[in-house]
Amino acid sequence: MNLNAAAASLENDPETAAGKTVYVYEGPVRLWHWINALCILVLAVSGYLIGSPLPSVSGEASANFLMGYIRFAHFAAAYVFAVGFLVRIYWAVAGNHHARQLFMLPVTDMKWWAGLIRELRWYLFLEKQPYKYVGHNPLGHLFMFLFVTVAAILMICTGFALYGEGMGLGSWQDRLFGWVIPLLGGSQATHSWHHLGMWGIVTFVILHVYAAVREDIMSRQTMISTMISGQRTFRE
């Protein structure tokens, strides 16, 4: 299939005809999305404050536990994030085919590439209108894969490796993830990578929120309400 034929088949998909509504995101996917969003907020703020702590508190050490609470928030949110990610992987198997989209990139599909180029041109104001998609559009799909799936795996691996340092040699965190630290060149380097990962995700969140709002207004399909109700409605 060449690019033009792929484009034609995308434009004339009966499933995305104007006025049609499709159930895309099932309950567990939506719940995971919002829990994940909350986790990322807590993790980014508490993580930043672990790297650059707040101004010193006064009084006796035993009367304060500020850094302890910040670290607790980070670790608790990290566990929720990690468990949520595992449940999400399970749902990729158990749920509908849209639930699987996050975990694989269809790089051999010409239709996907045609859509990616179209979507890029749409963002460069070179197209009058974008294609319609039941799931993620190819550009969004690419970003989700890199900054949600891949980034989550990297953050979970480096995060639990660092957590394992405190839990000690022989803890399950150390046994499962401890190999990461020498691989990245030591504890300090692992901290740096984990920190960069945070900024990568923060940058993604900015783009993600903007794209969701913009496409809700400008594209030919619903976006924000779809992640609340699960239903996607198409427009002309």
Binding site: S52, P53, V57, G68, L169, G178, W199, G200, T203
Partner: protein, 359 residues
């Protein structure tokens, strides 16, 4: 009859009482408990003495300096009695051809049965000519001596990881010994220098139990490198409380608050400084008011400033750390979003104008 450690010690004038005290002390310092003291004593009384050959490559001799200052004078005497009889460039009485002959003799006599302790590392550039000993490149001597050794100890950051001579750009290509020696068990005892008691502890363990101590993933003895400085730091309560030294001369520094914000590498450094301490247990860097510089971590010279917590990442240019790189990316994304949103709004407005116009 073959000489045992005990025979050697007695010949050196060490009393039975002192010997037993040494055994208890060693058992404790190795974390083995008092029940092991008689076992150590028995091993030293019955086992034939294992000679130790101590080679020095590209290094500063700080490991040897640390070693001979082992806290307990007794420990020092005992260990030195074991070592000085054999080969140690700085400490042995022999010199020149006599010394080299002695090395050859030990290698022949105790083939496959001696411990090789290496201080420093071999530089590999220019066929190893940056470190010549007795007219030959050190790397050759190291390989030869290691070939017939039972086990190898890598003293300090130099032998373990390369240390300052291997810091970028590493002009002599100074190389950690585990990259040169193969097929021998290697115990890494990093630090610049390692703590004296850690060094004597490792040697004693290997000599008395005739095996290498349990090692972690990076080849370091778990008993001394199993935890971070931070995990056992006496200033840890101030860290958890959120009480930090903000400037070197502030009130918090005088109160002995946590040095985390001053770039202390305690949270990323595996060593026994906060438990064993230095100079007869007198102090250690954090106790004297300066953060840990992470000298027992791999490549610590190339890991950014000693005084930053979020250290610079050299790949991103001079003086850029994760916050600067990431913050710039996030700000750029935010700015791009703002511009794009404005352009999108314009487009949308134009479109609705057209639509209204058409109506």
């Amino acid at each position: 009859m073959t000489e045992t450690f005990y025979d050697v010690l007695r010949r050196q004038g060490i009393s039975r009482r002192s010997f037993l005290k040494f055994c208890s002390l060693t058992a404790t310092s190795l974390g083995l408990g008092s029940a092991y003291a008689p076992k150590i004593a028995h091993a030293m009384e019955t086992k034939p003495r294992t000679p130790v050959i101590w080679l020095e490559g590209l290094e500063c001799t700080c490991c040897s300096e640390s070693f001979i200052r082992s806290a307990h004078p007794l420990t020092k005497d005992v260990i030195l009695s074991m070592l000085s009889l054999d080969y140690h460039v700085t400490l042995m009485a022999a010199a020149g051809h006599q010394a080299e002959k002695q090395l050859e003799e030990i290698k022949k006599k105790y083939k496959g049965n001696y411990i090789l302790a290496v201080e420093g590392n071999p530089p590999l550039n220019e066929d190893g000519m940056f470190c010549i000993e007795g007219g030959r490149p050190f790397v050759e001597i190291l390989k030869e001596t290691a070939a017939d050794a039972k086990a190898v100890i890598a003293w300090g950051a130099c032998a373990s990881y390369g240390c300052v001579q291997a810091a970028k750009p590493n002009p002599t290509r100074a190389t950690p010994i585990d990259k040169v020696i193969s097929g021998k068990p290697i115990v890494k005892v990093p630090g610049c220098p390692p703590i004296a008691e850690v060094m004597t502890g490792v040697v004693t363990y290997m000599l008395t139990f005739d095996r290498i101590p349990e090692l972690d993933r990076q080849g370091r003895p778990k008993m001394f490198y199993g935890q971070r400085i931070h995990d056992k730091c006496y200033r840890r309560p101030h860290f958890d409380a959120g009480q930090f030294v903000e400037q070197w001369d502030d009130d918090n520094a005088r109160k002995g608050y946590c040095l985390y914000k001053m770039g202390c590498k305690g949270p990323t450094t595996y060593n026994a400084c906060s438990t064993v301490r230095w100079n007869d247990g007198v102090s250690f860097p954090i106790q004297s008011g300066h953060g840990c510089i992470g000298c027992s971590e791999e490549g610590f010279w190339d890991k950014g400033s000693f005084y930053d917590r979020v250290t610079d990442i050299k790949q991103f240019g001079i003086e850029a750390n994760a916050d600067k790189v990431g913050g710039t990316a996030a700000a750029a994304a935010g700015a791009a979003v703002a511009v794009h949103a404005a352009a999108s709004a314009l487009k949308k407005a134009k479109k609705s104008e057209t639509v209204t116009g058409e109506n």
